[in-house]
Symmetry: none
Subunit: 141 residues, 4 copies
């Protein structure tokens, strides 16, 4: 199974709906299995500085098959990955909001990245987007 634009849009739509509930406009991005951008939206009023962050949270989650929240815990001072922040040309994001997306066989076929609010807000929106993929978009694919 491969990521498509149609799937990416469903993931993003679910993220937008959650962002509206949270009350914080977000940047939401989806990448494919190669870590390359498939789609991105910046909701009205969302931070312009978060464009790259959302895209790169998605990249990071695919690049290491891990949520950026979990990677963040491992890359604190003293942690296994402290310093990974500067790898890959500055594309490695180590705070909540990026989640890898797995097909029904457990293969990572892409990732979603969200940026625009506090860590908990970004994470909540990313989780809603990832859940939509798992529950609907993935099956339809």
């Amino acid at each position: 199974m491969a990521m498509t634009l149609a799937i990416a849009r469903k993931i993003i739509a679910a993220g937008e709906a959650q962002a509206e509930k949270v009350g914080q406009p977000m940047n939401i991005a989806v990448v494919d299995a190669g870590g390359n951008l498939v789609a991105h939206v910046r909701m009205d009023g969302a931070w312009i500085g978060s464009v790259d962050i959302a895209i790169n949270k998605a990249y990071t989650s695919r690049a290491f098959d891990i949520s950026t929240k979990d990677l963040g815990e491992k890359s604190q001072p003293g942690g296994d990955f402290f310093g990974i922040q500067v790898a890959d040309g500055g594309r490695v994001m180590t705070f909540a909001g990026g989640i890898p997306l797995k097909d029904s066989g457990g293969n990572v076929i892409g990732a979603v990245g969200v940026s625009g609010g506090a860590g908990k807000q970004d994470q909540k929106v990313a989780e809603a987007a990832a859940a939509a993929f798992k529950q609907g978009a993935r099956k339809a694919a």
Copy 2:
């Protein structure tokens, strides 16, 4: 008048429809008056190397309030802007596919960038996207 995600989506939808007519999948991006990305899509099968190009054609068109086709003509060897290619950290694109978007008062409020085919194809898709903005999205805004 300001660029919104809703307007950007209409612009992109018109570009996608034209890309399907042209028979070449495209990357299509819209930036706002600040040159910052509002939305991007990569149609299924479009070149992964064109993600950045589409985004940066849109950036370039807003950055200099000119189509990248026209800027391309001015930046050939011997031209006024030859060498501008390396400005702005490599974000200046000097070949067809980027068009600035003006509100009814003539103010540039953003730009569209298209990349995925030959110059004429990219330009045709960008023009369709820009026309949709002029004819519909702009009025609705």
Copy 3:
């Protein structure tokens, strides 16, 4: 079909053999469908400045599904893609030595990039590497 390290090694081995015939040590790199590096070798005595070039010729050939030789012709002054040289963060190589690799169904599943000599030498080595993929490695996959 997906690129594997075993396939990449066969491609590289064929390139090395050809480089020895040509009498010019080379850098040879293979990327997968996502444009990400699978393997790279620098033959003894090959230019150190060609490490990135070989890797990025492979990237470019996959990023735009075209040989870098053909892209080079299209990106001369006055051409459709003049200026593409600075796109994608400086990763776009527009001179001979990069060739996309297609599976039996015609899908591009990666690319090979060669750098270390004159354009004709690089191209000859890349063609030998790509031919090995087509004739043997691809069938075995």
Copy 4:
């Protein structure tokens, strides 16, 4: 004594064998005395985000003639080298997996870098690769 592609391949082969024992696919890279890449492999299934990290762990180990594990300890907050993470254009990696390679006279002639798992896994694979160099490849050179 100088690093050669033949030696680099033996180092990488030993790393691969250890990675299979550890059960985690890895990126493995070898650089020469100039810190320039000699060879790189990404084992099937290894993280795409670790390509650059493996190469740059090798670079870092040669650049400062120290293991990245040891450098990591010195570059924690409060340490002598805290902040070195952003030096050299983002190429300095400060977590386990990079080891300098010395000839029998004690001269550093290159380094190996490994990335693809937890710090202990990367380190174990790098140590196996470095040991192969010390025990066999180095003598043969």
